[in-house]
Symmetry: D2
Amino acid sequence: MEIESLSENKSLNEECGIFGVWNVPDAAQLTFYGLHALQHRGQEGAGIVSNNNGQLWQERGLGLLSKVFADPQKLANLTGKAAIGHVRYATAGSNGVENIQPFMVNFNDMQVALGHNGNITNAKTLRKQLEDEGAIFQSSSDTEILLHLIRRSKKATFEEQLKEALNQVRGGFAFLLMTPDGIYGALDPHGFRPFVIGKLADDSYVFASETAALNAINAEFVRDVEPGELVKIDDHGMKIDHYTDNTELAIDSMEYVYFARPDSTICGVNVHQARERMGKNLAKEKPVAADIVVGVPNSSLSATLGYSQQSGIPNEMGLIKNQYIARTFIEPTQERREKAVRMKLSAVSSVLQDQRVVLVDDSIVRGTTSKYIIQMLREAGAKEVHVRIASPAFKYPSFYGVDMQTSKELIAANFTKDEIKAKIGADSLEYLSTDGLIAAIDLKHRGAGTGLTTAYFDGNYPSPVYDYEKEVANQAVTFQPELKN
Amino acid sequence: MEIESLSENKSLNEECGIFGVWNVPDAAQLTFYGLHALQHRGQEGAGIVSNNNGQLWQERGLGLLSKVFADPQKLANLTGKAAIGHVRYATAGSNGVENIQPFMVNFNDMQVALGHNGNITNAKTLRKQLEDEGAIFQSSSDTEILLHLIRRSKKATFEEQLKEALNQVRGGFAFLLMTPDGIYGALDPHGFRPFVIGKLADDSYVFASETAALNAINAEFVRDVEPGELVKIDDHGMKIDHYTDNTELAIDSMEYVYFARPDSTICGVNVHQARERMGKNLAKEKPVAADIVVGVPNSSLSATLGYSQQSGIPNEMGLIKNQYIARTFIEPTQERREKAVRMKLSAVSSVLQDQRVVLVDDSIVRGTTSKYIIQMLREAGAKEVHVRIASPAFKYPSFYGVDMQTSKELIAANFTKDEIKAKIGADSLEYLSTDGLIAAIDLKHRGAGTGLTTAYFDGNYPSPVYDYEKEVANQAVTFQPELKN
Amino acid sequence: MEIESLSENKSLNEECGIFGVWNVPDAAQLTFYGLHALQHRGQEGAGIVSNNNGQLWQERGLGLLSKVFADPQKLANLTGKAAIGHVRYATAGSNGVENIQPFMVNFNDMQVALGHNGNITNAKTLRKQLEDEGAIFQSSSDTEILLHLIRRSKKATFEEQLKEALNQVRGGFAFLLMTPDGIYGALDPHGFRPFVIGKLADDSYVFASETAALNAINAEFVRDVEPGELVKIDDHGMKIDHYTDNTELAIDSMEYVYFARPDSTICGVNVHQARERMGKNLAKEKPVAADIVVGVPNSSLSATLGYSQQSGIPNEMGLIKNQYIARTFIEPTQERREKAVRMKLSAVSSVLQDQRVVLVDDSIVRGTTSKYIIQMLREAGAKEVHVRIASPAFKYPSFYGVDMQTSKELIAANFTKDEIKAKIGADSLEYLSTDGLIAAIDLKHRGAGTGLTTAYFDGNYPSPVYDYEKEVANQAVTFQPELKN
Amino acid sequence: MEIESLSENKSLNEECGIFGVWNVPDAAQLTFYGLHALQHRGQEGAGIVSNNNGQLWQERGLGLLSKVFADPQKLANLTGKAAIGHVRYATAGSNGVENIQPFMVNFNDMQVALGHNGNITNAKTLRKQLEDEGAIFQSSSDTEILLHLIRRSKKATFEEQLKEALNQVRGGFAFLLMTPDGIYGALDPHGFRPFVIGKLADDSYVFASETAALNAINAEFVRDVEPGELVKIDDHGMKIDHYTDNTELAIDSMEYVYFARPDSTICGVNVHQARERMGKNLAKEKPVAADIVVGVPNSSLSATLGYSQQSGIPNEMGLIKNQYIARTFIEPTQERREKAVRMKLSAVSSVLQDQRVVLVDDSIVRGTTSKYIIQMLREAGAKEVHVRIASPAFKYPSFYGVDMQTSKELIAANFTKDEIKAKIGADSLEYLSTDGLIAAIDLKHRGAGTGLTTAYFDGNYPSPVYDYEKEVANQAVTFQPELKN
């Protein structure tokens, strides 16, 4: 038996959330609250490391935060005025407690804790190289690599060592490190993942994966961490530095489409509003004659609002989500997935009876959930079900921090739109165009390019993918050249 | 430290959900799924009793279903083709495992299991009387009373004993009993609580507190249990009988306003649609000039939709709910409540900035949550906040199955509308009228009266309240005479 | 998988230990320590009820004390200056938490907590009778009966009601009750089970199943509770009363042979010394030419000492017991039992090599353990193994508080001594005579009779066995007439 | 609150037990049973790594084996026909789960698991050196060092790398390693810790810290691992090799005195019999006029037997040990220690009354336990208490695998015999002489020297102590020169 992750049927998982705070009483408690606001980014493990006058303390475990810290003593153990924390989505085969972050290492001269959100594309190569030089890895996680690179640097200071290490790793990463005297945040040169700085008081700063975590602890938003930056927070306040100048913003567009919380703002664009515009653009591009618009709760509700506003078709609550997370029990996978959908979602017959329904969803990955939802809508009386997806068809894998590293399971990579329509049992199926997506997010204030990674949809990768090249070997993809360091 | 119930800040708690099924393989698993769909009716304890060829087996524990049945062995222990289950909201001082239902008693000649949703208004009197005759109570729950009454009956059959017992208890109750050879469902003469019958196959029937639980297991809705009925499900199918003819429908209106799931249908009226109409009527009765309508998720979203549709003011997602339930830690209660609100809800500044907001909520009980929400909206930039409550002011306590048995904590019982407006920091505050509520629910197909209990709002109780009379002693209330048995 | 009780292979289980204390700070903690000293009397459940100024609080659970009270909050919840506690051996089919004692019932006019060590022989009859009068039983335990009898009494005071109830039950019982104002201890008219009173200070008294529990908390031994007595401890000190005058001491001889701790003293006779004398008498009655005496740890070590002293054959440590209790895993029962013996005991080859061994054990019940032990001794090099049992052959069941209510599993009831010798693989097998046992315990200071129940060995029951008559129907047993009340 | 280790009051803790098995079905289960027999060597953590066709699987946790593997799924997860396991005593400040062994590391070309019993005396130096070269340590344990040394070796094969690594570490160690294709056992050049090889079948071998673990799983003893040896068990059977020729047996004498199980045999000498001879020698060296000999259970019972046999004074059971392990609760340390002693031991008054007692104990470390025991004996009536210690006075710390690395807490290092006698309240106090100890263990069949480390008693260390030199700086100690590699 397994705990169902909320996104099991979606099979599209963010790989982590990070949070850190400096100079505040009850730092570990604040970190708990901050991580709670980031729980949607990782539900399979959590940890917090606190810093009590230079001594680091660690607690971590498998499962949701509320499970890991069920014993209040655990948070109480984490004394001190600074802390960093991590919520983790565990990829297959890596679900041991040794992989739960933040990692903490004890050098003879210092302690370091490290949390990571992202994916290092040259990890295998670096790991092999480090092992050949005698390095030992205890986790199966890529994150450990950074520690080895730091430690092997011949530079004089920790900060210089860290910069050297950051210049050796490739891919998507937001790193959060804590040493006895400060917290460091670093973002990859493309800024694939969101990462922000907040402020609780003049001398008390916060790092978080999303602004929603700042709100949760009543911290004021200061600014995004920019691509290539290395930001330090310590008793002297915040110091913004950079380990490379050669950067080009390319945020993962799926953060706007699906991952991030609607109340978060990334690079100045509120996620809810971006989704609403995706819905509007979708209605413009792919109209349909229908009686009601129904969104798949909760991630599609913003796009649904937009579709309804633009189309004038009333937005009705035809699907209800159970607010309690539960397990299904051991049974054949097919049946289990269907049961999982039924436990999470319920169709409202009195709303759906005899209606022509526009079903708005944010994305289709495997298509399984869509099939069950459409089936439920029809059982509840829907006359027609027109599926409108508020993002383009998902055809290419991601290597910058999302657990979807092969196109094998992507239904849109393997079937035509018509085939998918038939498979999921829809009366019609349409997607938002990539241009419509880019326009909805609208990062043009950020420079010449789109500021986005849209490789999922168009196969145009903003950088080489190194160790993953064989995964995209036979597909029509393009790689932008590596940014020079 | 306490687990936060979802409704802690509301301080208005349903007292239970019940579910039972006869003649189906994996009856306990189906009961688990059914109870999961009823988890919103009780989060502090759960239990299931199964029936394996006449032998009853029991598992129960404190906390959410997912905790009580965390060890898969527990469900596996519950063998057999029939089961009943219960989710419980524990009132203060009664949180021991001995109070978790279903209760199971072993007589020398039979076993009986019993689950209850409701509140018996003459419980103290009956209990004293029974104890004076030598009865021993192990729980502090009223539910045990029914077992004693059955057992003391001199009637010849269990069914007759049960009927005699049902005629002795007063108040609101939906009882679910299982004996070795069948399941019995009984509803009080006013039908205060929802209670329905479903069907899985020709010889397999289901009882549930709400239709949402039928959907969850793919059962077909058959009919509501009617006031005064005693329904038996056994190997001969379903037999509908009644223990009294003297009935008058008076469903607790708060089921439509707040408790029940929007996808449930009670007495032929879908809850979501009733709420939508409450929102429409509210918009008609209490319009206001504003830029956006924002609902308090999730319970107010239907009414918000209605308010927006009727008023033409756009419905915007200005408040986001965290889908993960978490605890707050030991701290002064005031601060803790505020933190709990912040952990559950988050305001979206980009939506709210400089807007005149209509904030739609389903009800105000203590007013604390409203205050924090309005504060959050203003911090997020809202220019004006006009509170519109989709039910009348909550002034009188309930004694038929809701944990609100005193008017002391009811803000509307103690302050004027203007005072409340000031306390919660709103720019304006208005409620739906009782007539508007009755019209929105619209049970006129059910007979001459309203079919509803609206005592919370108008102090007109559909029956005497027996042992609770002192709680309403100094208030202007009326009691309808007891229905004759 | 099951937790192995220490005595699983012996299949002879004491049914409980009780402990109570009045007027001392941290009463619940002292009760925990007292019960810990009685843990050998019951390992499958434990509970404590405390009394804080007349308000009773309860905690109970399945497993060893250390598990039930693993969360320190549980003991901390049990505030107050008085407490009673219970450790339970759960008989088959009765292992739910609803059977864990002390039971606590809430009457409208008082609370009562009750713990019981023993077995009521007319329980079925009384239970049926009570149920016919409308009583409801929630546990499958006999103990609940006393509460019903008390409650149905028409006497004026609780004490009189209790006396009346005590006169209705038959069999073996030591009852411990706590009401808001005192603790009551009562012993059956034959005094089958040990039960003592201790003193911590002038106004602070203690009840316990064995004197070992008094030692554990540094209490002074005052006196045994005598057969037929009802002793009350309250703010006025200790009051000794009796509910019947018609008594005749008949302590269960197995308390001396096997159940009680060697450091306990029962009716003035130290258990270790009694066992030592059993070993001496055994050596006199059943000598054998051998090189070393080896005892089965730990229960046989005293008798082994006696056998060695009397015979002059050196006592050697040929068997070692693992001090950690562990489980075996799911495997065929035969193999599992053998593994359980190997996990508990280990033979010392260098001691046993080429030796003629006298193996002293306190008793043989099913014979399984003996077989494995002898096999281990031989594998370790023993040349001859002469089994000497320091009690008579165990042929008849017990009904006064020991879990051995049928002779089916008693090897000596079903096979001759020679057959048993062959089955267990011994070179010779001899038992202590019943006279030898009686002389070793030596209660002649207590009156004319032996003061002992030796029914296990001679089938002479000191009282009728009521509801159990069919269990001994075809055996040559005698029942002493019931003592008149 | 803390779980009391059995030896808390002794403050003398073995640092681990190791066990491994190759080529047997249910290897993890056998390892569980083997570790159970070694539980006395470490109670604060346990782990098992299994090998299923070259893939290693790990489970580990804090606490006793029965707690770590409470969920049967955990053992079930450990599939495969080979396994190694470890029970750990956690030294102060190192009680995180990251320190629980076996450690398991994933190299890109292989997996290695490692368990260790002992203490590396040049660990700090090696660790600093390795860190300076870039190594990262995640545990605070010394054990990790070996993995780094192996990995940094430039030798061609794993076996050669391991040999090179073994030649770099100093101190006491028994290492157990598992790779995909075999299990390796290695012992330090002095053989400080016991380590044996057993056999289950022709192609199935076992490693264990003590022979008791072989008995537990019915394995045949093959031979001791000898100092300087590296033994490999794989599909080709057992291969005995050595990484150094320069060895000199110097087993830690405390293994015979206190640590090892009495049923174990180390270097051909049974522990129980060695202890019995210590008791005999003690009786010869330090006779006293007394009525009874009483041993402190359980560790002193063998020596007590010897003392009694030699002196002719009867061995009586004056102290009883509670077989259940329990906790004491938060209270001032002094009181808590006294309570812990009372919970574990109980004095038998009827045995002790008016007796002149020889109290035999195996050793005195801090003296606290002795004080409380003597007090208990006197309260129980003992007229005189003559303490006889079956080992010499414990004056110097150990650095080869026992948690006693400072002489600060050693009562005999800080007080004269007369002072100690007074502190513990004895009538007389005498120790066994070092010669008496050596003669009792009697390893002369093993070569010219004593074969023993007696540094605790005489300050003569068989090797330099490297990083610990300052701990013995001001004491009159001698170090034997390092054996040349």
